[in-house]
């Protein structure tokens, strides 16, 4: 179980990285933390002609304040982000979601941008990006654009990134100060990819819900934002009955698939259960 042969490119600057991306656009894999790419290589499920290793591009790692929210460089390690005070302050949903990713050794290597660009439908960070209306900054040789998270996740392991583009930064707009968050997932074992999971962020104002975000993982080819359920929540007083109603609405927005670990029906049902629990925690 060894990787197939490939050309290896290790750019030292973003400019070099974008040049390499452009040059090898039709047949390359981007190596960020490698925690998803390396298993695919070892299992020989991917045969890239060229691997572009971004580890040397120092400008891609880092966490900074951005427009009241926080911007996270794509190559920021998940373990670094997990312990970061600015992220905890500006995007606490990210902070509570991160420990659910694999195990310490995985998060030490895995990157925030890598997980989002890989777009595994059972991964945690794509749902966080979706829930927080992240702006995903993509660069190509000579160009830059910002993609709304809502437009980014196109399907199973598929994103809106073009073959010559790199995800360089994840910008998380601020929610109201003091909003509540929760991330609940159900995995067969601790640290496994979730069968189903939910990211919830809720801001209250005067005892009523002013802003509600609900995004699910493990319920289809891409993470799903339950916008109808959010509508049920906004303007209402938090409570078990409301959450049950929102969960029912959310379930109708999901179209999960079944596999050998759980059926579609089970996933949908548990999505509702977890949504209620997450909403309760986020409004506690």
């Amino acid at each position: 179980m060894k990787p197939p042969a490939f050309q290896y490119v290790a750019p030292a600057t973003l400019e070099e990285a974008l040049d390499a991306r452009a040059e090898h656009a039709d047949d390359c894999a981007v190596l960020a933390g490698g925690q998803s790419l390396m298993p695919l290589l070892n299992l020989r499920m991917a045969f890239p002609g060229t691997v572009i290793d971004l580890a040397g591009v120092g400008e891609l790692a880092g966490i900074r304040e951005w427009d009241g929210g926080v911007a996270i460089g794509a190559m920021t390690r998940q373990r670094t982000a997990e312990g970061d005070a600015l992220i905890r302050d500006r995007a606490p949903l990210m902070s509570v979601a991160l420990p659910n990713i694999g195990h310490a050794a995985i998060r030490n290597r895995g990157t925030v941008g890598g997980s989002i660009a890989h777009a595994d439908p059972a991964a945690e960070l794509p749902a966080v990006a979706l829930a927080l209306d992240a702006q995903l900054v993509a660069k190509r040789k000579g160009g830059e654009r910002t993609i709304d998270a809502a437009d980014f996740f196109a399907g199973f392991l598929t994103t809106a990134l073009e073959p010559d583009e790199l995800l360089v930064e994840v910008r998380l707009p601020a929610m109201a100060k003091g909003h509540g968050v929760a991330f609940h997932e159900l995995a067969r074992r601790h640290g496994d990819f979730a069968l189903v999971g939910v990211a919830a962020a809720v801001a209250l104002d005067g005892g009523r819900i002013a802003d509600a975000r609900l995004a699910f993982i493990g319920v289809g080819g891409a993470p799903v934002r339950a916008r109808e359920a959010e509508k049920v929540l906004v303007g209402a007083e938090p409570g078990a009955e409301l959450f049950a109603e929102a969960a029912e609405t959310a379930k109708s927005e999901l179209d999960p698939a079944g596999d050998s670990h759980a059926s579609a029906e089970y996933r949908r049902r548990v999505a509702g259960v977890l949504a209620q629990r997450a909403l309760a925690e986020a409004t506690r």
Binding site: M1, K2, P3, P4, A5, L43, R44, L186, R188, R189, H190, G191, D192, F193, L195, S260, H261, A262, S263, Y266, R269, V270, V273, L274
Partner: protein
Amino acid sequence: MSGVAPAQRFVGQSVRRVEDRRILTGRGRYIDDMQLPKMLHAVFVRSSVAHGRIVSVDVDAARSMPGVVAVLTALELEGQAYPLSIQPDVPNVERPVFTALASDKVRYVGDPIAVVVAEGRYAAEDARDAIVVDYDPLEAVASIEHAENPERPNLFDDIPSNLLYSEHREFGDVEAAFEGARVVKLTMRPQRVAHVPMECRGGIADYNSGSGDLIYYATTQSPHGLKLGLSGVLAQPAEQVRVITPDVGGAFGQKAGLQREDVALCVASRMLGRPVKWVEDRVENMTSASHARSEILEISAAVDDDGTIRGLDVTMRLDVGAYPVLPFPPSFLGPIVRTMMTGPYHIPALRWANTVYATNKASYGTYRGPWAIETLAREALVDRIARELGLDPLDVRRRNVYTVEEQPTEMVTGPTIEGIRASEALERAAELAGERDFRAAQAKAREEGRLIGLGYSSYIEPAPGPPNLFPSMESGLPPERAYARLEIDGHLTVTTAQAPHGQGHETTLAQVAATEMGIPLEHVRVIHGDTQLTPFSVIGTGGSRAATMASGAALLATRSVKEKVLEIAGHIMEISPSDLEIVDATVRPKGDPAGGMPLANVAGAAYFAAPPGEDAGLRSSSVMHEPPGGWSGGTHACQVEIDPQTGVVEITRYLVVEDCGELINPAIVEGQIRGGIAQGVGIALLENALYDEEANFLAGTFMDYLVPTVMEVPRIEIEHLEGDALHEVNYRGVGEGGTIAAPPAVLNAVADALGGVPITTLPMTPERVLELIDG
């Protein structure tokens, strides 16, 4: 440790393991750690289809790739190795004949078709990917139901159906037992599971074309069994086959016997005249090595209203996959399950039927506690009887379990029951579990909408079983041998037929030998895993036999050396040997701490002067035959809490009360028990070697086959009863009890939490549990 330890009884102490010095420093040597000069690397091309005829295997491109030395298919193996089959003397069993590499047909996903041999592993994998196999697919036989369907194709063209074996037996008066009795029925159909040693299989074949000697370095639990198999299949004289076993990273039954890859590797080395290494990767291991369980057991129990079980009527259907794991015939499991079926209960009648089928799946390989289906089904049955009769499951066990007073007695299937403390273990487990308090807590929890449950399972484990156990199964327990040799410095070398892979025999056998010899523990070295050095055993390590058989053999061999030492010392010291003792490595007159001479001096005298009593060095060999008794056993109790909304099961408490006689090394015993239970918990809740209806394998990675982590295995409380000695060697095995008893304990706990719903299959996934909650 400074100086020499005072004379002491090392048996019974949790002394530190001898093995740990190398294991904890990265100096263990496993098969993949070995490099031989000019060594080549092999990888196998395996079938991607479950059932089909091989139309062509195009290896031309692969043969010309960089670093590739050879690509061998069944064609190249012809004339190099005999076709493989089980021993011919097993009556009434179909004998599939096959080749190490598939020739005409492939019979499961993972069936080896070709082997690529290259200068490096990466190059070998590159070439493997360049080989194209063209198949003419056949309909798959993916289940026992498929195997029973005459419309489905046969796996083996020369065997008239996919039924390989059937037997019907009756013990006691079954008709009388069922006459007028209430009948309680249960069908148990557990999943297929995999052994999952952390080290996959592998070997290095090293044929010397000058001498004609073949050395096979193998990760195996039965080096002599493997040697025997290789010698026969390769037509290589026994004295020119040597199997060497380095450190082995777990086996659990999977590394027993002769594997087809072993044959292909040895042929490759013999053809190429260079060492050839193969290290199985994890996907291969999950897909191709072997699986176990997945029996279908249907039971009817004749019971009285008070819960007395009068008799059982049992049918077992077994799916053994495509190829038998040699040398075990496809019929091997039935007699073990049949004989153990009544377990620790006095059940006077048993009707037994067993059918065995070939399917397009990986081979059935003996797995830790191979007879486990009877423990699972019987313990679930006991709880079912209690539910249907409105009795307490503990009371049903009490009514049927063997009491001390009625022993010795015989199981209806033949083996003698003697020295088992099943009744005491049951009572103690119930006491420790807080049965009465738990029931009050359970009622209160139900009012709060919480689901908690408590379940038990009682078991006996032949470890190695009484002398009439194996005859009851129409086989024999091979004897166990050991050598002991006093070295010239007074230290002792013990050579065992065991092939340990985690069991700590380098430690436990040294404890037994040092205690017997009267020398410090550090003065004993245990040698194993080289057929040129070690005594013959067709089994090696397996079947929970080491505690009694290997310890006994080491004890007897050491004692025999000791007698020689005393004879020689008596001659030197002019004292009757019977008046001498060895204490703290000193031979001295009994009760005279000041007198005597160092053991090293006696050894030196013997080596240099060969006094009377010396016999080609101070060495002895011994044979251990099974003593009476031979059972381990006890009761497990498990508490669970179930999330009523998601179906997730959490084990909140787990305890064991068990008897395995005297403990040689309590920490090692408890490690075996806990490790066994961890596997049982995996079987109960997580693991599933799943095939689909077309016999495609769906659990080839560790993301799909779920081995329990530290988060899923609870703390395990253990209490030992240390039952009475029926024989001087009062040590009994504990390798399998944990794995067989845990699944029914967890199952009964889950069923109890859900108000006694029948549970008939494993694993109890959250989804399945939620279905049970829904009803």
